[in-house]
Structure formats: structure tokens, C-alpha cells
Amino acid sequence: MNLSSIQRRLKEFAVDWDHWWTRDTYPHIMGIVRIALGGWLLFYWAIRLPNINAIYTTAGIVFPKIPKFMPEQFEWILQVPEPNVFLVVFGIHLIALLTLTIGYYTRTSALIACLISWYLYYIGQHHFHTSYDRLYMFSLLFLALSNAGAVYSYEAWEKFGNIFKWDKMVSIFPQRLLAFQITMTYLGVGFQKLWLPGWQGGEMLWYSLLGVWGTPLAFKITSYGWSPLYHVAVNVIIMFEVFIPFAFWIRIHKIRWFGMASAVVFHVSVHALLYIWWFAVLIPAYIVFFTPEEVYNFIKRHKPQFALDQGKS
């Protein structure tokens, strides 16, 4: 292999890389993701509204965390706020999530919601340091970088008088970031279970069901007693979690669909047995594993009025 062929291959790789990460394409997937994620986050935060004083303000018992990277002159931002001040901040957060969901000032709304989520994390959420809170924050950042309001949005209605009309192709970049992150989340979670000592037997599942997250259904099941089937169940969970992140990308033989179906069964079971319902938002987000062209053509075939041709009129 001579130098010019290496150079050519590198150039081809750079072009493919750029095409995969940043090509312009149909805006419909990100429009759907925006509605699903925005709506979900609006629900997630709105249900906390009755308790915000206890969780985030001087009226409750609140200990904020000052991150190490925060310059001293900005630390006042993370002082526990008075209830009336916080109500304004929280109100802006909910309004930003609402406008994000309907696609009105989409990027600004996503950015505001992302920044307030960051604020809420250091004020009160850091005690409940969960994977999904971080996923939510990064997803809002991705939406702030996207043109997710280009279709199925108030912006489209304002521009064309029809939420299904659209005129510009958008970058696939935020969709790829979201797909990459979801893949890595499943990959890390699945593969770590292969060697974590706690995950080498059914006891993990058995004792988790009996624990602090157990639902009445979980206790109903455990009331029948221990069974070696718990070993089988844990091995099945690990097998599928290792399989899922790869399956999402394999289009042949309906493997992608099989991976998604397994993930849906997994999340629904977790919800039913462990009161851990927050990851269910990943289910509609699996749409990012389809290409925008596939989704656009699919909608056009089945509901042509929802996937109009590109154009201003």
C-alpha cells in the first residue's frame, strides 16, 4: 500500500464520517423526538410542582452542591432560593419545556430548559444522581443544537399556516449524537453486568425486587419464593442488554426491530416491578436509529398528509 492510497482512503473516510455525522436531511425525526422528549420532560417536572418549596427552596431542607469548576464569584447562583424567586425560575422552566414541545422558539427553549435543569441538578437533584437526569440534560442540549422545530411545530404553522409544511433540510448531527449516547448507555450498562460480582447470579434480581424500589407486583411474585429461574432471568437480562446496543444498528433480518422490542419489554418490566419509570422515555427515542429518509418515506406512504413534499407553499 503506497502513500497516495493511504491518503485516498483517509479522504474517503473523512467524507463518510462527515456525511454520517452532519449531512443535511429531512427534519421529521427530530420533530417527533422534540414532541416526545419535550412532552415527557414537561410531565416529569410538572408533577414536582406541588413540592418545589420542600425540594428546592429555603422553605425546605435543601443543601445545594457547588461544583469544583464553579468560579467563586458565581457561587451565589447556587444559594438556596426564596420560594417566590424559585417559583419564577421553575415557571420559566415549565414554559420553556412547553414551548419546546410545541416548537415555538425551539432552540432557545431547549437551551433555557437545559440551563435550568443544570441549575436544578446542583440545587437539589444531585442527591438523586441518576443516569436519566443526565440523559435528559444532554438531550436538551442536543435539541438546542438542532432544528427540531422545522416541522410539526408552531414555527411551521407560523411560517406556512400548516404544521406539516417545511422548507429546509436540517443537519442530522443532533440525531446522531442522541443515537450515539443511547447506544453507549446500553453498551456500558450491559457489558458492565458481565463482570460485576453482584450480577453473576439471580440473587441480584431477587434482592432488588425485595428492596426499596419493589412494587406490589414485585412482592406478589417474590411471595412465591426463591427459584433458580431468577438465575435464568438475570442471564437473559444481561444477554439482551449486551445485544441491544448492536441490534439497534443492524437493519437486516429485522434485527433492529427485535432489539427494540427487547428493550421495550425490558423497560416495561422494570417499570412494572421496580417503580423506575423514567427510562421509558427512551422507547420513543429509538426512532433516532432509523434514517430520516426511512421515516419520511414511511410516513409519506401511510399518512401522506403528515409528510408533505419539501417546499414553501
Binding site: 443516569s131 443526565r134 444532554f138 453507549m184 456500558g188 460485576l196 441480584m204 434482592y207 425485595l210
Partner: protein
């Protein structure tokens, strides 16, 4: 052009930090010279339940009155969360030295309870632990099975 450079830089930084997180997730190896503060969010997005315990535990709150009688105080008005979320939040894992925070919680609860008509002379926080039961979360919560560990007690002045 500037946007293209920014995008590629963002992608490369994101992939790099994800690899750092994956390296810690799968091999417990931190990439040298990469500050953990940057990696931690990426790690947290890919870390599963690490282990299980054979006991259930809950931070119980008790108030003592002048007759030295202890009464259990409901945590919900102060920490309005599900049982699971409360159990995690109240561990205060963000702080290394938890004692001053638990004492402050006890102090604030004492003030709030007494303002609501109680006459507690002290409030105590203690972790209570009992063997898990296959029938109910509190199935084995009996006096002979519970062990406790006092975290803080605050006395009225």
C-alpha cells in the same frame, strides 16, 4: 466553516469523554490527566445497579417529648419523594462529612414540628436496617430484627 469545525470538535470531545467513561465503566481505569469532573456525567449515563444487599434500610426520624417518649415522624412533609428516591437522597452521597448535614436536618425538623404544635425536646435521625422479606418491604421490620445507627440528634435549646 466555523460551524463545521465546531461540530467536529464537539463530536470528537464527546466521543473522547464517552470513551473515558466506558474505560472506567468496564475496566475501572481512569484515563490519565483527564479530570473526573468532566467524565463523571458521561460515566453516570452508563452505570447500572452495581450490587445488592440482603437488608432493607431507611433513615427514620424520631421526636422525643418531655416524658422521654419517642414518636416516629413521617419523612414525607420534609422529603416528598417515593420510598426509593428518599432512600437515595437521604444518604447525602454528595458530601463527604455528612454529620453536620444530618444535624441540620434534625434541627430544622425539630423547629418545624414544634411550630406545628408538637413539644419535642429533641429530634433524632437513625438508619434502621432489617432483613429483606419476600412478602413486604417492612415484612421483617420487627424489634428483634432491626438494628440501628444514630446519625444525628438535635436538642431544643
Amino acid at each position: 466553516m466555523l460551524i463545521r469545525i465546531f461540530r467536529q470538535a464537539f463530536i470528537l470531545a464527546y466521543i473522547f469523554l464517552t470513551i473515558c467513561a466506558l474505560s472506567y465503566t468496564l475496566g475501572r481505569k481512569q484515563i490519565p490527566k483527564v479530570d473526573w469532573a468532566y467524565v463523571t456525567h458521561f460515566y453516570a449515563m452508563m452505570a447500572p445497579f452495581q450490587n445488592y444487599t440482603k437488608n432493607n434500610a431507611e433513615l427514620m426520624i424520631y421526636g422525643q417529648d418531655a416524658s422521654r417518649k419517642w414518636t416516629k415522624i413521617d419523612y414525607k412533609p420534609y422529603f416528598p419523594f417515593s420510598r426509593g428516591e428518599y432512600a437515595i437522597r437521604i444518604r447525602l452521597t454528595s458530601f463527604r462529612d455528612k454529620k453536620p448535614y444530618y444535624t441540620e436536618i434534625a434541627r430544622r425538623i425539630l423547629i418545624a414540628e414544634n411550630a406545628n404544635g408538637k413539644a419535642y425536646t429533641s429530634v433524632r435521625l437513625q438508619w434502621e436496617k432489617w432483613p429483606k422479606s419476600q412478602y413486604d418491604f417492612y415484612g421483617n421490620y420487627t424489634s428483634n430484627q432491626v438494628t440501628n445507627n444514630v446519625m444525628a440528634e438535635y436538642f431544643a435549646k
